[in-house]
Amino acid sequence: MSITEPTVHIVDDNPFFLAAASRLLRASGFTVRTFGSAESFLTQRDEDAPGCVLADVQMPGMNGLELQTALAQSRNPLPILFLTGHGDIASSVRAMREGAEDFLEKRAPRAQLLDAVTRALARDAREREGRARQRELRARFDTLTRRELEVLGHVVRGRLNKQIAGDLGIHERTVKLHRTAITTKLHVQSVAELTRLAHEAGLFTAPAPPCP
């Protein structure tokens, strides 16, 4: 199941603030889900739902910063916005360094709050799109055989067919056949495009693969 509507997940131990903030965001046109603690958010949230998280820094049990760490390691790392009773430099610096979208006071002006939420949702959409593209590319690269991937690794590093054949101990014509299969499977026309796709898919970022 997948919800296409981006959702603002509010996490706060204070039920009254939770209700109030939820009302404001709903009235402002956002889809909202509320959670009374970081733990309940992590267990009850929709795994794939797009959106963002609006969390109180100080909570009993798992606090906001711990939630941020757990979220970053998950499959769906939603952008996180922090709310705090009063500005605390040490935790805000840490939160921002770990990639928090924003750090807001609970009584921050409404416009500031809504802007921050909008920005967080946009970022999520952007990141989500990037992640989807990466996944799609990976699926495409997954159709290649082991040998084809091996040849591709040499190609993206700019090596000639003759050199590749020597390295792999196969005939130069066989290398050409592999290359044709690769471009057909990945629907690319040039070596430049092939290199860009491999980079986008996060392939061959490590130094040259070891020779068997």
């Binding site: 204070n14 009254f16 603030f17 209700a19 109030a20 903030a21 009302r23 404001l24 709903r26 009235a27 402002s28 009773g85 009063h86 609970k106 009584r107 409404r110």
Partner: protein, 620 residues
């Protein structure tokens, strides 16, 4: 040729006595105050005379010759007895004076009687001379009728015995047992012996010449022996004195060393003549030249005006004999060059027999360095205490802010949401109602937070007991004393002795009082040095309350700030938290009293607060 034993013995006695007379005369000559030596010399010389007269009598060929000898004997006896009596009086430092004078008078009476009237006091008529054998040779003795005056003479001799016995007993009782026994005993023995011999001869029962001089020789010998013991003792004393003197020099050197090591200035004040002597070290510290004359009142002028009364009081108390005349004080000195020094003074007053002060001795030490360290320490301690106070209030304030922030944030977001809902063409009124009810609830929650804080403050703080206002004020005065000195603020406290105890928490009331006093001192920043005063006073306010007031001589409270000074976070100080008066206000209200502020007519502000009198039945 046969040896004349009489001549030999009598000559020997005479020369022995004469030698002693000459020796002791010379001794007296070198030390004129040794009257005992002169008197002994006279006794010895007189004994010589008596001895010669006896020899003369024994060799007399005619009655006239014998009578002349008898007459001369009276002169020598006069010297002998009179010198003997006064010797005893001086040497034993005892003996009845009137007896001494009676004996002297009696003997003096005899001399003109024998010489001028030509009377013979022993014999009324010398009828003939007789010659008898004595020590193997013929000697002359008298035969004749006795003069009744002889009895008077014998009586005079007995008086001497009485006098000596009396003097010896007195000396014995006083503790001079050796002297009393030797001198007294010997004199009595030999005089009685002489008296016995002469009586035997005079009353004619025994046919021997008068030989009293031998007895007197014994007497002279004992006296000489005793006096020579004195000479030995004197030389021993000289030795002891030498030892004592070197001991004195040694201890003087030690004291000097101690005085120098302790950096002490010594001064001695002659209370009777109002004269001050002071050591060089003292003069250096007090800023006086070595020979500059010192007067008490002038020296007092160098004491810091704020400390003068205290120093005067300490000295007056010591002079009145309190604490055994000991006193000590620490005060500031303002030197002519404007410098200030701290001095520690310790001394003692010496009284005469009637308890009147004679001399005041003291040692003073420059403790400026120590005082500076003490002040720095004190200041540091206060800064720490202040920081503690600030951080405690800071925590309280930040806790308060955080607790209140939650409902305030909820109210804000709810209100914003309601606004948005109401913009809708067909607003969801149920939602708006729910929002309004939540806003009300959040407002109540914020109110509860404040109530809880206030309640916390009240409950935690109040350990109410019966308290003595004086000790409360003294505690706070002690806390700020150094601070006040550093900031040149004079702190006055006026609390009557007879105030009843109040009911309250000591620590928190101290905090209130401390807060008000420190505020008062802060208000004096920038005030002239002559007029920097904070005064604490207390009085009965009706039958139920005691009112305390803390006033300052600063510029007072501006009219527009006066209504706000008890508001939390309201402050006029750059580093102020604005919590001191607010908390003080809460504390006093929690005690059932009131705290308020006003400007004084003469300038400056005054803070007054009331506290309930402790219930006498419950106070302990």
């Amino acid at each position: 040729m046969a040896i004349s034993w009489v001549t030999v013995i009598w000559s020997m006695v005479a020369s022995a006595c004469l030698t002693l007379a000459v020796i002791y005369f010379v001794v007296w000559w070198t030390n004129r105050s040794a009257w005992a030596h002169l008197l002994f010399s006279v006794t010895a010389a007189a004994t010589t005379g008596v001895t010669f007269c006896e020899l003369w009598m024994m060799r007399a060929q005619t009655p006239a010759e014998l009578v002349a000898a008898l007459r001369w004997v009276q002169l020598w006896l006069f010297f002998l007895f009179v010198s003997l009596v006064w010797f005893v009086r001086i040497y034993l430092r005892a003996g009845s004076p009137w007896l001494a004078w009676t004996i002297t008078g009696l003997r003096t009476f005899y001399v003109p009687l024998t010489f001028l009237a030509g009377m013979n006091v022993d014999y009324s008529a010398v009828s003939s001379l007789r010659h008898i054998q004595f020590l193997g040779e013929p000697v002359t003795v008298v035969a004749g009728a006795l003069n009744p005056l002889t009895l008077l003479g014998q009586f005079g001799v007995l008086l001497i015995v009485v006098f000596v016995v009396d003097a010896s007993i007195t000396a014995w009782r006083r503790g001079d047992r050796q002297k009393a026994l030797t001198v007294g005993g010997a004199i009595v023995f030999f005089i009685l012996a002489g008296l016995g011999t002469s009586s035997l001869v005079l009353w004619g029962n025994v046919q021997v010449p008068i030989v009293v001089s031998q007895c007197y020789l014994g007497l002279v010998a004992v006296m000489g022996y005793e006096l020579s013991r004195d000479v030995i003792r004197a030389s021993q004393l000289v030795e002891e004195l030498k030892i004592t003197e070197s001991g004195l020099r040694e201890s003087e050197a030690r004291i000097k060393l101690a005085v120098e090591a302790g950096d002490l200035g010594i001064w001695i004040r002659d209370v009777v003549r109002n004269d001050i002597w002071a050591s060089e070290a003292w003069r250096t510290v007090f800023g006086y030249a070595p020979s500059e004359p010192l007067a008490f009142d002038e020296v007092m002028q160098r004491v810091h005006p704020d400390d003068r009364d205290m120093v005067r009081h300490a000295q007056a108390t010591a002079l009145a004999g309190a604490n055994g005349g000991r006193y000590q004080s620490e005060f500031r000195l303002v030197l002519p060059d404007g410098g200030t020094r701290w001095i520690a003074l310790q001394g003692r007053v010496e009284m005469d027999g009637t308890g009147r002060p004679i001399v005041m001795r003291g040692a003073s030490r420059d403790i400026t360095a120590r005082k500076h360290i003490e002040q720095e320490t004190q200041q540091l301690r206060q800064e720490i205490a202040h920081a503690g106070r600030v951080s405690m209030m800071g925590q309280l304030a930040s806790g308060l802010a955080h607790e209140i922030n939650q409902p305030l944030a909820a109210i804000l977001r709810n209100a914003e949401a309601a606004e948005l809902f109401l913009q809708d063409a067909s607003p969801d009124l149920d939602e708006v109602r729910a929002i309004l009810s939540d806003i009300r609830a959040d407002d109540e929650r914020a109110g509860h937070v404040i109530d809880r804080m206030r309640g916390l403050l009240k409950r935690q703080t109040l350990d109410a007991r019966a308290l003595d206002i004086r000790s409360l004020v003294n505690d706070v005065a002690a806390l700020v004393r150094v601070d006040a000195a550093v900031r040149h603020v004079k702190l006055d406290a006026d609390v009557p002795d007879d105030l009843p105890h109040v009911r309250g928490d000591r620590v928190h009331l101290q905090q209130v009082l401390l807060n008000l006093v420190l505020n008062g001192m802060d208000a004096l920043n920038g005030a002239s040095l002559e007029n920097r005063r904070v005064s604490v006073s207390a009085r009965l306010d009706g039958g139920q309350m005691v009112e305390l007031a803390v006033g300052d001589t600063g510029s007072g409270i501006a009219a527009d700030t006066l209504p706000r000074i008890f508001d939390p976070f309201f402050t006029t100080k750059p580093e102020g938290m604005g919590m001191g008066l607010a908390i003080s206000h809460t504390i006093i209200e929690a005690h059932g009293g009131m705290l308020w502020a006003a400007n004084q007519h003469g300038g400056g502000a005054v803070f007054r607060f009331t506290l309930p009198i402790a219930d006498r039945t419950s106070s302990t």
